[in-house]
């Protein structure tokens, strides 16, 4: 097990992406009691927007650092717009309908987003090569090979998680969000503009998805139209395991899921094809044991 450090690092990278996705699920649920299944596809849209931004920046002859920034800005902006749009035009008008309708509706929206990319993006059915903007290579500490790109992306991911946490807990917008999550009616009587807070909340959750999508593209050098599907299932699972509605729960859930997947391959290499099966089975056991998640949602700490 001389490679334990390496496995840990791999798990950290995957866990950061899962955690970013799970955080979105938990924000939406915390504020609106909505399970938004199109979240993974918003991530895909963000990643493709990032790719287009890189193409444009490359054709303009801009340096790599600008391409890098352009990718993240475009991904976050586009996913924020899509997220806020879904909230404003679909979730707000339907907010009093049965939760099942809402769930179905968001699933349909996800399918539409996915198919739009597949059909209208040039060669959309094929995997797209995502340019390598980060330094290649790395260095060894003992038997652990630290990739520069992985290190940069893990740090970026953790910083973004911290920023979202700060926005929710330390800003006026975050306060308003938490007030709406607590009690919509009271929040409105206190003068909080409900109709603008909801889309903004969804924009925030979707920004993390766009950010995660770009990290994914940079790390694997490849994106495709259906990448959001499995990520959404894993992200949602992570949010549930951690305790839906609790930010820390989502992050812990993300790392836990990645850890389980990595552990299977590390322990029994010949079982690597079954790692998702194994991880999901363990998650089912966990959910049975703690139905409200590892960190149960406390009344005063929603979102």
């Amino acid at each position: 097990m001389g490679m334990i450090g390496q496995h840990l690092l791999n798990g950290m990278m995957q866990g950061t992406i899962y955690g970013l996705v799970a955080m979105g699920f938990t924000i939406f649920f915390g504020v609106m009691n909505v399970i938004k299944f199109s979240h993974g596809d918003v991530l895909t849209v963000g990643a493709f927007a990032g790719l287009v931004a890189i193409w444009i920046a490359t054709s303009l002859g801009l340096p790599i650092s600008i391409q890098f920034i352009a990718a993240f800005v475009a991904a976050m902006l586009v996913s924020a717009l899509v997220g806020a749009g879904i909230a404003h035009f679909l979730i707000m008008p339907l907010r009093n309908s049965p939760p099942l309708n809402m769930l179905l509706m968001t699933m349909m929206v996800g399918t539409v987003l996915r198919e739009v990319i597949r059909l209208f993006f040039p060669n959309g059915t094929n995997p797209q090569r995502f340019p390598e903007l980060l330094p290649v290579g790395g260095f060894n500490i003992g038997s652990t090979f630290l990739r520069y790109d992985a290190l940069i992306l893990i740090v970026a991911g953790i910083v973004s998680i911290a920023v979202v946490y700060w926005i929710i807990n330390r800003t006026r917008f975050g306060l308003a969000m938490r007030a709406v999550a607590e009690d919509v009616e009271t929040a409105r009587t206190m003068g909080i503009n409900f109709a603008s807070i909801i889309p903004l909340t969804f924009a925030l959750g979707s920004i993390t998805a766009g950010f995660g999508g770009t990290i994914y593209g940079l790390y694997y050098s490849e994106i495709n139209y259906s990448m959001g599907l499995l990520l959404a299932v894993i992200g949602f699972t992570a949010a549930i395991v951690g305790g839906l509605g609790n930010i820390w729960g989502a992050i812990i859930g993300g790392y836990l899921f990645a850890g389980l997947q990595t552990m299977v391959v590390a322990a029994v290499p010949s079982m690597s094809d079954y790692k998702d099966v194994f991880a999901f089975v363990l998650i089912i056991v966990l959910i049975t044991w703690r139905p409200t998640g590892l960190l149960a949602e406390r009344g005063s700490e929603r979102v």
């Binding site: 496995h7 995997p127 090979f145 694997y220």
Partner: protein, 394 residues
């Protein structure tokens, strides 16, 4: 309302009668039209191979139709199987139940082909596989409708294992996709490698669309093999090679027909592809009996995409089907009977000989290595002459 409907009905009858009459006249002047179907992956990750194969089949039809001596005019019905077994089953059911289609040239992907052979048999639609290499496609059953011009993967693995032994490699790790194709690759790789007295340190199977290979590669790095054997198709192979480099794994990559073609080199770039060895059941186009004719005609037709590794096989399979129809007439049962007697039929990939399972037994397994962004026959390469060296030779 009733009268209107009556009048419209009368008009419709008149129009269709007229068109029937015209159609009849037309047929009296022109050759009879015969429809044959071609199936392959035109969208999805494998589409480059499918498009090359489709162009080659179209070219075969074009050349055949341009020949004034043929009895029929051929129409190629092209369908996309996306390299997915479920989609393959749908499209094959569609063509099989269309009685106007008399024969088919299906499939690049083995996992798709193995899912559809029963349908061809049930609907008695004769077919000639153009690229899939899983042995079971022809050998699992003795269906008279099923034939194949491409080789089977057993030969590639036998030649591959022998080649690696001759180079002095001893320690291998096997990495394959978890489809029937990958499993079969693993089976024969394991068999021949162990027979040669070499050692397999670990075996990994992953879903063909798995993105993250970091856990597997970490384990592989720990096992420290001299060679990583890959049994899968281009997209996963490209991902494996790219991520191997990112993890600083300096093992020799041994592939086979699944990564053969320009698409693999295009996907990862010439630097990473350099030195990859592959075993493929055909000499390069330039050395095939009809290679020059095919290359020139393909170029003249103005296709933008290359024919890829199996384009010539697609061309040969399509031509073989049309030649058989010329002899037997456009009838499914008669074509099946005609294809049963294919012995030493010349084609651009060499003479075609079907055994009693409809398998072409004359493909020539050839060893390739990537040199400066091109697949070069081993014997002609600077690796064989000793100017360049494969990685990690112990």
């Amino acid at each position: 309302m009733v009268r209107m409907t009556m009048r419209m009905f009368a008009a419709a009858v008149a129009v269709s009668a007229l068109s029937l009459a015209l159609g009849g006249l037309d047929a009296a002047w022109a050759k009879d039209k015969v429809k044959i179907a071609w199936v392959g992956p035109l969208t999805g990750a494998i589409s480059q191979h499918g498009i090359g194969g489709r162009n080659s089949a179209e070219l075969a039809v074009k050349l055949m139709n341009a020949d004034p001596k043929t009895k029929y005019e051929y129409e190629l019905v092209v369908l996309d199987d996306e390299c997915k077994p479920n989609v393959g089953v749908q499209v094959v059911t569609k063509i099989a139940s269309d009685r106007s289609i008399v024969a088919a040239i299906p499939h690049y992907c083995s996992a798709t082909a193995i899912a559809t052979v029963d349908i061809f048999h049930r609907f008695k639609l004769p077919m000639v596989v153009w690229a899939a290499v899983l042995p079971e496609i022809t050998y699992a059953n003795k269906y008279p409708e099923i034939h194949r011009v491409s080789g089977i993967l057993i030969g590639q693995n036998r030649v591959g294992a022998q080649f690696m032994k001759e180079r002095g490699y001893k320690k291998f790790v096997a990495f394959a996709d978890s489809t029937d194709y990958g499993k079969s690759m693993l089976k024969y790789f394991t068999q021949f490698t162990l027979e040669n007295g070499n050692q397999i340190l670990g075996t990994f199977a992953v879903a063909p669309d798995q993105q993250d290979l970091s856990a597997e590669l970490t384990k592989i790095k720990e096992l420290n093999p001299e060679v990583i054997y890959f049994g899968g198709l281009t997209p996963l192979g490209a991902r494996l090679r790219t991520q191997m480099a990112k993890f600083g794994i300096n093992a020799q990559l041994e592939g086979n027909s699944g990564i053969m073609g320009d698409a693999f080199i295009a996907a990862i770039g010439p630097e990473l592809a350099e030195g990859t060895v592959t075993f493929f059941d055909s000499p390069p186009i330039s050395k095939m009996p009809g290679g020059k004719m095919f290359s020139d005609a393909y170029k003249a037709a103005g296709y933008n995409d290359p024919p890829e590794a199996y384009g010539p096989f697609s061309f040969a399979a399509t031509t073989l089907v049309m030649q058989t129809i010329e002899k037997t007439g456009p009838d499914r049962a008669k074509i099946t009977a005609g294809l049963a007697n294919v012995k030493d039929v010349p084609s651009i990939v060499g003479p075609i000989n079907f055994d009693d399972h409809g398998q072409n037994i004359t493909p020539l397994t050839t060893r390739y290595v990537v040199q400066d962004g091109k697949w070069v026959v081993w014997e002609d390469s600077e690796y064989a002459s000793g100017k360049r060296k494969l990685k990690n030779i112990p």
